[in-house]
């Protein structure tokens, strides 16, 4: 049994690894961007799916990571160092802001994060000397590595593909451990009944802060990847619309499921690609799908697949 699983896993890994050889360049590009989206939405899923706090301001933290990493590497820091530093800093800022904003709950928390996202966006847009204003930052140093005899090699699209998928793999292992631990169970307890959880000895305040911190950290990491992958950042990437996109991905994919953000991100991105023939109606259909999922299939794609095929995906 165990051997069989290993073979399946290896097969899938080999399949994914061979994509850059087969697929067109724009497809590979798309997979990298989707991978970055999955990193961010996995963090948001921890906050929204497991702990039950809807955040409408995640793009603010996504942008925070992007700008910090871009600025650090522009000052001459190695990109490999600026990734973890910017993720950590974003997480720390998240915890600091969380001290205030986690006093709110339910719809109040959602609106609070919405305002927070707006404040961060205004900072990116207006603080021109540092963030470059509405033009954003250009010429962000690319990711690269040293080879013994060839010198500095800049990351190509294929490198990025493997890098992002490796990070995603590690992330899934980490999230799986996290969700199944005492910590994950306590988050679910907070979602189901906060006061009951507290009376049973869950340190609600600390758990909320930690969970918010992790989700911000992952948003920051995704942002850092995004800025170096794209090579430029501008505030329009971090506006409220992006936050709404993230939360839509999490909910359409399936809340409180590790695989949910994968489904959500890929389905939404593929939908926006393959519905080109709809022209201007594309976004109308996109909105209608969100409404229909909420009205008739609230568990998102993961639940729908579970129901149709009778398999258990929500582990």
């Amino acid at each position: 049994m165990k051997k069989g699983r290993l073979f399946i896993a290896l097969g899938i890994a080999a399949g994914i690894a061979s994509i850059p050889a087969i697929a067109r360049e724009d497809t590979v590009h798309l997979i990298v961007v989707t991978g970055i989206w999955i990193i961010v939405t996995s963090g948001l899923n921890l906050l929204t799916g497991y702990m039950g706090h809807v955040s409408f301001g995640q793009a603010g933290f996504f942008g925070f990571g992007a700008y910090i990493s871009a600025l650090l590497s522009k000052m001459g820091l190695s990109v490999w160092l600026s990734f973890p530093i910017s993720a950590m800093v974003t997480g720390a800022v998240g915890v600091l802001l969380g001290l205030g904003i986690l006093r709110l709950s339910g719809a109040y928390f959602a609106i609070g994060t919405l305002i927070l996202g707006e404040v961060l966006y205004s900072v990116y847009y207006n603080w021109s000397p540092v963030t470059g204003g509405y033009m954003g930052l250009m010429n962000i140093p690319p990711l690269g590595f040293e080879l013994p005899f060839m010198g500095e090699v800049t990351f190509s699209l294929v490198h990025w593909f493997y890098f992002v998928n490796l990070v995603l793999f590690l992330l899934v292992i980490f999230m799986r451990k996290l969700v199944r631990s005492q910590f994950g169970r306590e988050l679910i307890a907070i979602r189901q009944n906060e006061s009951l959880a507290e009376s049973l000895g869950v340190n609600v305040k600390a758990r909320k802060l930690q969970c918010f911190g992790i989700s911000c950290l992952l948003a920051g990491l995704g942002g850092a990847f995004y800025s170096h992958f794209m090579g430029h950042v501008s505030p329009s990437s971090f506006a409220v619309g992006r936050s709404l996109e993230f939360i839509t991905i999490v909910i359409i994919g399936g809340l409180a499921s590790l695989i949910g953000p994968f489904f959500g991100s890929y389905v939404l991105i593929i939908m926006s690609l393959y519905m080109e023939f709809l022209g201007a109606w594309r976004m109308v259909v996109y909105g209608l799908i969100i409404i229909f999922v909420m009205m008739f299939a609230r568990g998102g794609i993961v639940s729908a697949i579970e129901k149709c095929f009778g398999v258990e995906l929500r582990r």
Partner: protein, 290 residues
């Protein structure tokens, strides 16, 4: 003296901007009072209102204020339909479901707006926007004064409906205790439709008037909608008086900050201040005691 005069001008400008915010936020507040959820698609009613007003005033050449009235009636119908088709079947779901459905509705209708309206900004034909009155060294745009007048009369109308009519009593009853209201023979569904109708019509009046001052486009609803959420929360969700005061305050504060510090920071600082107040007093300034 010069500074004082400018400051007065800024405060008055802020009050006039604030009346626009109040018009949008009022609809959100009364919807919250009945539904206990924030309507994330409210900006759409604002945009629809502006667009209908453009159709009547500019394309058909009707009087601007008659167009506004017609647009309020039509948009109210759309809002009531949205309630009946989308929101009513969701009753009893968690809060976030309504929030996300609202986003979906917003996407759908905004992009439908792109198809109908096209990408170019449209202009509502309104004579009053070109008239500026001058008294005691202060300047007023006539259309903004009209907006304040409309805001005041709609407030009085709302007050009259809530206090003096059967529908209004039913609305208050459902807001206070939906179960008991149902037992008394009030249909919450009909009340909800009335509330959405009023909310949509109020947003449409704002869309028509603010739209005539600048321009009409499909995305015009988004930032006023954000502002309106914040005002509603700030004024204490469901409190009409709170919404009015919060709306006017936000308008004045934003204008004064923009003048005193820097125009581009007006929005950011207003948001930051509201966030801080919000965290200190989550139930808003005039919120209900939980």
């Amino acid at each position: 003296m010069e500074t004082l005069l400018t400051l007065t001008q800024q405060i008055l400008n802020g009050l006039l901007t604030g009346t626009g915010y109040v018009l949008i936020a009022l609809g959100l507040t009364i919807i919250y009072g009945i539904y206990r959820v924030i309507n994330m698609a409210h900006g759409i009613f604002y945009m629809c209102g502006g667009y209908f007003c453009y159709v009547f005033a500019t394309l058909l050449g009707l009087n601007t204020y008659l167009s506004m009235l017609l647009s309020m009636i039509l948009t109210g119908g759309i809002a009531a339909a949205v309630e009946r088709i989308v929101f009513r079947p969701l009753q009893g779901s968690p809060d976030w479901v309504f929030l996300v459905v609202g986003i979906g509705l917003y996407f759908t209708l905004e992009n439908f707006g792109w198809i109908v309206e096209g990408p170019l900004p449209l202009h509502v034909h309104a004579y009053a926007t070109q008239v500026t009155l001058r008294t005691a060294g202060l300047y007023f745009n006539l259309q903004k004064l009209v907006m304040a007048g409309v805001c005041l009369s709609l407030l009085l109308l709302l007050y009259y409906i809530l206090r003096r009519t059967d529908v209004g009593r039913a609305m208050r009853a459902v807001s206070a205790d939906p179960e008991a209201a149902k037992l008394m023979g009030i249909s919450p569904g009909k009340v909800s439709m009335v509330v959405f109708y009023l909310g949509g019509a109020f947003a449409a009046s704002a869309g028509s008037l603010v739209g005539s001052l600048s321009s009409i486009n499909p995305t015009m609803g988004f930032s006023p909608q954000l502002m309106a959420f914040i005002i509603v929360v700030f004024g204490g969700m469901g409190s009409i008086l709170g919404t009015v005061i919060a709306g006017l305050f936000v308008g004045v504060f934003q204008n004064v900050i923009a003048w005193a510090i820097a125009p581009k920071y007006g929005y950011a600082i207003t948001m930051l201040l509201l966030l801080i107040i919000f965290i200190i007093r989550p139930k808003g300034l005039f919120g209900e005691k939980s």
